[in-house]
């Protein structure tokens, strides 16, 4: 019997197929990607303006280890003046915001899974530094970090590890839904939904993939896609930049671990990740944000791009996940990351 499961945060129902379920191994999809030529790589010897960089201690201007540059194909840009206007029924904002590329390594390595834990920790530090800087602009409401790896993820065919940061003057729809769902739960229970979630996942262990000192990684109870994974910090904090302080190395450890499990277990699939954090809260201490410090909890969503969303899913917001998350979690748990 298939099940209908409800996402406890945004209250979306998902069909979890059981009888027509395939084995986790059926989802293995090698990309066979031509990542292009190293000598044409625009990130190897990047000459774009430097917004931020991490360098080895003591070297003021030499070679960078992580570099943040403006996106070459920005979807939002800071060049225009912030202005809201109406167009009949609709609300419009002239383009405003920021779009940056985090070049994760000077070396031509495609997959973040192949970077050292130390290097991934530097990437996390670069994210934090950019969050801290971008939140000073009070016209901005939301900053998110995301990563596209492999062609099926929407990435360009360039084999050099990078992630991107978008600072937006509005809260995106799914973020608003998550915030509203977490607040509703808090209003009723006076506890953080995500704190309850990680405790339940640690206790049941069915969907647990990996636990470290400060983090848990698990397959969500009602995933939209097979092998969707959440990394949740045990320590409650609504904000990524504040919450990760002191735990950057541990986050790098669990992120590398999960990405390696994908790479080895699913034969190097394309994937995306997004860091979910609270909206920027300067000057917005109104009623809407009164309990946000208590009710929201930052986290990372990771999704290998294995299944296509068809019309049913796109048009209804109602997903069919072809395999139970308990099975995918078990599969990922068993991957030998030291092989």
């Amino acid at each position: 019997m298939p099940q209908l499961r409800k996402d406890p945060v945004i209250r979306r129902w998902v069909i979890i197929a059981t009888e027509r379920a395939r084995r986790p191994g059926n989802f293995v999809t090698s990309q066979n990607v031509d990542f292009g030529n190293k000598k044409d790589c625009p990130f190897c010897h990047n000459t774009d303006p430097e917004i931020f960089a991490i360098r080895p201690q003591g070297s003021g201007s030499g070679d960078w280890q992580v570099k943040v540059a403006p996106s070459g194909t920005p979807i939002l840009s800071i060049d225009t003046k912030f202005k809201r206007h109406g167009f009949g029924l609709y609300d419009v904002i002239k383009n405003y915001g920021a779009h940056e590329v985090v070049i994760e390594t000077p070396e031509h390595i495609a997959n973040m899974a192949d970077l050292s834990q130390e290097q991934i920790r530097r990437v996390m530090e670069a994210y934090v530094s950019r969050f801290k800087d971008l939140e000073k602009d009070t016209n901005l409401q939301y900053v998110f970090v995301y990563k596209n790896y492999g062609l099926a993820s929407g990435s360009r065919p360039i084999g050099h590890a990078r992630s991107q940061i978008i600072a937006s003057p509005v809260n995106p729809l799914r973020v608003k839904e998550k915030l509203a769902g977490a607040k509703k739960y808090y209003d009723y229970h006076e506890r953080c939904l995500y704190c309850d979630m990680y405790r339940q996942e640690l206790e049941s262990k069915e969907r647990l993939i990996r636990e470290t000192e400060h983090f848990v990684a698990f397959s969500p109870f009602a995933p939209r896609f097979p092998f969707e994974t959440i990394i949740l910090p045990k320590k409650h904090c609504c904000d990524f930049a504040d919450g990760v302080a002191g735990m950057e190395g541990d986050l790098a450890l669990i992120l590398k671990d999960i990405l390696l499990r994908f790479k080895i277990g699913l034969d190097d699939p394309a994937y995306n990740y997004v860091i979910h954090t609270a909206p920027l809260r300067q000057k917005r201490k109104g009623a809407k944000w009164q309990t946000i410090e208590e009710d929201y909890h930052w986290h990372i969503e990771i999704m290998p791009r294995l299944a296509k969303a068809a019309g049913f899913e796109k048009g209804s917001g109602f997903y069919i996940c072809a395999i139970p998350p308990e099975d995918t979690a078990e599969f990922l748990r068993k991957v030998d990351v030291h092989a």
Binding site: W13, V92, A152, G154, R174, E177
Partner: protein, 334 residues
Amino acid sequence: MPELRRDPIIGQWVVVANDQESLTPMAYEKEGHERTHESVCQFCPGREGYTPPEVAAVRFNGSQPNTQGWSTRVVPNKFPALKIEGGLDKRGIGIYDLLNGIGAHEVVVETADHHRDMADLSPEEIVWILRMYLDRGLNLAKDRRFKYIMVFKNFGESAGASVEHAHSQIIALPMVPKLVDAELEGSSSYYKFRGRCLFCDILEQEYADEERIIAQNDQFISFCPFVPRFPFEQWIMPKNHQPDFFALSEEDIMPLALMIKEALARMKACLNASYNFYIHTAPIGYKDREVYHWHIEIMPQLVKTKGYEWGTGLYQVLTSPAVAAGYLRDVDLS
């Protein structure tokens, strides 16, 4: 630079290209649509025994069920996402809620001809398909376990179609899907505030602005919405306020078939892309008849969903709806 637009129904912000920088239909990569599986196609005439027994059909010359001699045929999905037998058995596990996957999942084989898509069918043939949607929808709505009937179509591999023979699908669900729920919520709060149907007001603005309209007849209009989620997204809407697709009147069936035919034919000539369409209608037994307005959303599959779109719901559309409507309008259908 593109601008940020917020749709008034669910409050979604989308980064939309401006008219000057919009991508043309040629700029998108499209997959081919060769049909190569006719010899093993289970939806073709003569192979009626390969599908589960039909639940409805448009038949000619008194032909018997599950034999040849049909034009449109509805069969249960051989690999249903939901099962029809059993109780819902709602339950909770800690913070999580779940219930049994009860529902109906049916396939509408749209034509006996393996080589034609809905865009190639005559308006009369599309009328038969619509009659099947209505017939099955009204029938399934009688089952008290169900709250929502969803009609949708996937055309082409990248749109998720696993069978190349033209077909659409009907799913009866024990709950209202998220997006429709969000639309109901948005249009209810609009109605409470203004006392008018939000979708009727959207149409008023479309008539006034004109530039996003693709086609219209006396009963229906097709246009590119001001805040699309996908490039060349197209909506078909009844001009008069109607909450429920399954209450479609007899005299509206042919005008709707003509509008669907025109919308799909224009899209095919302009893009020849894979696409999805789905009918958004009020839930079964929905009481507030003033609030909701049924419509069809058609989404060509031209771009891969990027990480941030999937993760945050902030979409980017590289062709403005005014430019898209211009291309679709300019198609010569003669």
